[in-house]
């Protein structure tokens, strides 16, 4: 049976048998449609990508204020377009490992303080110049400069000196950091000729597509770059186009109407409807993003760990996952790390337990209501989630008072200012980055005011530790500490939900970001 199916699927891939016929025959052989479909997909991949055509994406997250300067990238459209025209020093591969790009080899000294990037030969910029070690060094220099206002500045500040040595770039860090290669995979760090110091927004990189059209907030277009260094892996379509569609309904309609081949951010509440549209495939994948309720550990009444524990136990995670995310996510466990991070370890899942919550609440001695601020912009469905929290807490005898804040100004006036509010995090690529951004005493974005010198020491020690087993143990201990003593209530991790139209093949599941970590247009192709 398997042989016959294989034969049939190869015939489909070669265009000699229609998809519908294949599914019919597969059903006759007693194979369920999802399995038959996956067979087909692997056959298509084995048959190799189809070159040519135009691939179009309709994406949310573009504004007329966007710029081509990679330092200023913030939202999804510049992020995804940047991956089309730019090439990074190193990238995270879909299986969570590091994939060398412009750097052919990355090595470090034993103390993880001096790092050497060996630059690959024969990579070309769109303007015909060869990518050199000087270009890479200049790029890193520009992003380390306050004036560039780079989104990567936070990490780049940790680099002390940047030197070029022939084909190598040598970085000396202020503090040891075993995660440096992960930091260099930041999407802002697109290598530009002379680091973009001449013209930061020229849009010249070494990626698979040359910038053809750049109308911020409207449309971005690229044309295949013939001399792309790994043209066999990426850049299958002749042209790619990103159309900015910020309205969710319009985005869905454009996919259904066939104006675009893929869209991002399908709303969980309409996923089940869109699934039924012929030809449309939902591409959902869990990532590091999570929805949270945050308490300031240094502000009354949240300075009491029993009260914090009571609230953590009083939230019904399963119900929230089911009702707010419609199942498109996974349960959170009150620490910001999940399986999409390297060196993740499982910790026992915290469950809704009104009795225990009641016990801790009594022990805390708090009386009266707890004020929770929420808003539509905190995360999609935040107001509903807050109401669910209010109800599940009421069953444990804890009264939560909800205050709905306006979306405009929520991130300036409420988040990171008020002691208890709803929020979200997009996640980072390593545990060190996540903990350094939001859980170090000194971090600007320590939005739970979790200030523990012993925890800070653990973060720094883990950062400098090159032995993986030891690091894993350290991260485990840190996670337990945040989970049991921190101010974070993390009911759920959300998924990226993208969707593709008919004939789109080559999609790669990637836990790091939506749209195959931004590469969907370059990695996918249209089947004949």
């Amino acid at each position: 049976m398997t042989n016959e199916l294989d034969y049939l699927s190869r015939r489909v891939a070669a265009g000699k048998l229609s998809r519908r016929d294949f599914l019919g025959r597969a059903a006759a052989l007693g194979v369920a449609a999802p399995f038959a479909n996956s067979l087909l997909a692997s056959a298509a991949r084995a048959a190799g990508p189809v070159k040519g055509g135009i691939l179009k994406a309709g994406l949310v997250g573009g504004e007329s204020t966007n710029s081509l300067d990679p330092a200023l990238f913030m939202t999804q459209v510049p992020f995804a377009f940047g991956k089309m025209w730019g090439e990074l020093i190193v990238e995270l591969s879909p299986d969570g490992k590091l994939e060398n790009r412009i750097a052919e080899e990355i090595g470090s000294s034993d103390d993880a303080k001096v790092w050497t990037l060996k630059i690959r030969d024969g990579i070309e910029f769109h303007n015909g110049k060869t990518v050199t070690a000087e270009d890479v060094a200049a790029t890193l220099e520009r992003h380390s400069d306050e004036k560039s206002k780079s989104g990567a500045l936070g990490y780049m500040k940790g680099i002390d000196t940047i030197k070029v040595n022939g084909k190598e770039v040598v970085l000396t860090l202020k503090e040891p950091n075993a995660d440096l290669p992960y930091l260099l995979s930041d999407y802002h760090l697109i290598v530009q000729p002379n680091g973009g110091k001449d013209k930061a927004d020229a849009g010249i990189g070494a990626g698979p597509y040359k910038v053809k059209v750049n109308q911020p907030g409207v449309r971005h277009g690229g044309e295949r770059f013939a001399n792309y260094w790994q043209g066999d892996k990426m850049g299958h379509a002749d042209q790619i186009e990103i159309i900015v569609i910020n309205d969710a309904t319009a985005r869905t309609a454009a996919l259904q109407g066939g104006q675009v081949n893929m869209i991002n951010r399908v709303e969980p509440k309409v996923v089940d409807l869109i699934k039924r549209v012929p030809g449309v495939t939902i591409r959902n994948h869990s990532g590091p993003g999570h929805y949270v309720f945050i308490m300031h550990c240094n502000t009354a009444p949240f300075d009491n760990n029993d009260l914090r524990m009571a609230l953590k136990l009083a939230i019904d995670r399963e119900e929230m996952l089911k009702k707010v995310l419609r199942g498109y996510g996974s349960l959170g466990n009150d620490f910001p790390i999940n399986a999409s991070y390297p060196l993740f370890t499982e910790i026992e899942q915290r469950k809704y337990d009104p009795d225990k919550a009641k016990f801790h609440y009594k022990k805390s001695g708090h009386d009266g209501t707890v004020l929770l601020r929420t808003s539509d912009v905190a995360f999609p469905g935040a107001v509903d989630a807050s109401q669910l929290f209010q109800q599940s807490a009421a069953k444990a005898g804890i009264k939560i008072e909800l205050k709905r804040e306006p979306g405009d100004g929520y991130w300036n006036e409420v988040w990171n200012k008020q002691p208890f509010c709803a929020s979200y995090w997009g996640g980072r690529s390593t545990q060190d980055q996540m903990y350094s951004t939001a859980y170090l005493s000194t971090a600007d974005w320590n939005d739970t005011r979790f200030k523990r010198p012993d925890f800070d020491k653990m973060v720094l020690a883990a950062r400098a530790e090159l032995d993986e087993a030891k690091r894993k143990q350290m991260y485990h201990e840190m996670a337990v500490m945040v989970r049991d003593e921190g101010g974070l209530i993390l009911p759920m991790f959300n998924q990226f939900i993208d969707a593709t139209g008919p004939k789109v093949a080559g999609w790669v599941e990637d836990p790091h970001q939506e749209l195959c970590n931004g590469y969907a247009l370059a990695k996918c192709w249209l089947e004949a």
Partner: protein
């Protein structure tokens, strides 16, 4: 044509210019009292007191407001709208294309809507109080009462998703042929038409019915003219002034009131451009767009006034 009419027209234009100046002051003052300044908006969460001070210095935000106003006004008068603070692009260049798109959409919506509304109004008068009249009024009022986004989504659902006759999104760009552009804007133009139709149609109907009460219409009827001929030859020309007024008001709406329709159909016009920059507190762009919207509104109103003057013999030949 005599000199009083020239004087009247000149007066209107002068008044319009004065009004525009007043509006420019209002816009400038309005953007000044918005909470937070553009330096804060640009730096966002990463703002430190030093970087704020530096950026304010760099952007010239430390000068007194009236100096900045005259500086800005001088620029506007010489065609220099300044550069957008958030992206550093020249505002005049970015606006030109956006404005052209908005006018293109408004033009085609108007081409369909105005003759349709007036014809429907005339038909409604001809068969007044009959079922035709009621049907026309009912449908037109219903389409106006629905919110624009609802009409937009309905059109998208039937014509783009179910039948795929027209694209669901109306992105237009350089290099598109004229026909492609027309096809792209078909749905938003239809949505706009439905939104403005009833107002113009009802006003046409009311204005003509008003004239129909006059003695000379009765005379015309008595001398045996058919109902259509009475409306066409006697009633309509005398009802033209209020009709022009309402048409101009709706034209202005087509240009300045299309934000929602532009967002739904992803049309790269002025409305979307304005919204993007308001959220970024990009004051120069907001000022420029506000001023252009005001200019469109005032110009169309002057045109309406002048047309009314020219069409009205009593104003043309004042005692």
């Amino acid at each position: 044509m005599s000199s009083p009419i020239v004087k009247l027209v000149a007066q209107r234009i002068a008044l319009g210019i004065l009004l525009l100046l007043a509006v420019s002051v209002l816009i400038f003052a309005g953007t000044q009292i918005l909470p937070g300044d553009v330096a804060q908006a640009i730096l966002g969460q990463s703002a430190t007191p030093e970087s704020l001070a530096n950026l304010r210095e760099q952007l010239g935000l430390n000068q007194p407001a009236y100096i900045r106003y005259f500086h800005w006004l001088g620029g506007v008068l010489t065609g220099d709208l300044g550069t957008a603070m958030s992206s550093g692009q020249d505002i005049a260049t970015s606006i030109k294309e956006r404005l052209w798109n908005t006018l293109f959409l408004a033009f085609w919506a108007a081409i369909v809507a105005i003759p349709l509304a007036i014809t429907l109004g005339l038909i409604a008068v001809r068969y007044r109080d009959g079922w035709v009249d009621k049907l026309i009024s009912g449908v037109a009022l219903a389409s106006t009462s629905f919110p624009e986004f609802f009409i937009g989504y309905l059109l998208v659902f039937y014509f783009a998703v179910q039948h795929q006759w027209f694209p669901a999104i109306s992105t237009v760009y350089d290099g598109m042929s004229f026909g492609e552009r027309l096809q792209a804007i078909a749905l938003p133009a239809a949505a706009l038409t439905l939104v403005v139709l009833a107002h113009m149609m009802r006003m046409t109907r009311a204005a003509i019915l008003n004239v129909m009460q006059s003695a000379y219409v009765e005379t015309a009827e008595l001398k045996g003219l058919s109902a259509s001929a009475v409306i066409r030859k006697h009633a309509f020309p005398n009802a033209i002034a209020p009709i022009i007024n309402v048409v101009m008001l709706n034209l202005a709406y087509l240009v300045v009131g299309v934000v929602v329709v532009e967002v739904i159909f992803v049309y790269p016009g002025m409305g979307q451009y304005l919204v993007d920059h308001v959220t970024k507190r990009d004051v120069p762009v907001v000022q420029a767009v506000g001023l252009i919207f005001a200019a469109v509104y005032i110009t169309l109103n002057i045109v309406a006034d002048i047309a009314a003057i020219v069409a009205n013999p009593r104003l043309r030949h004042p005692k």
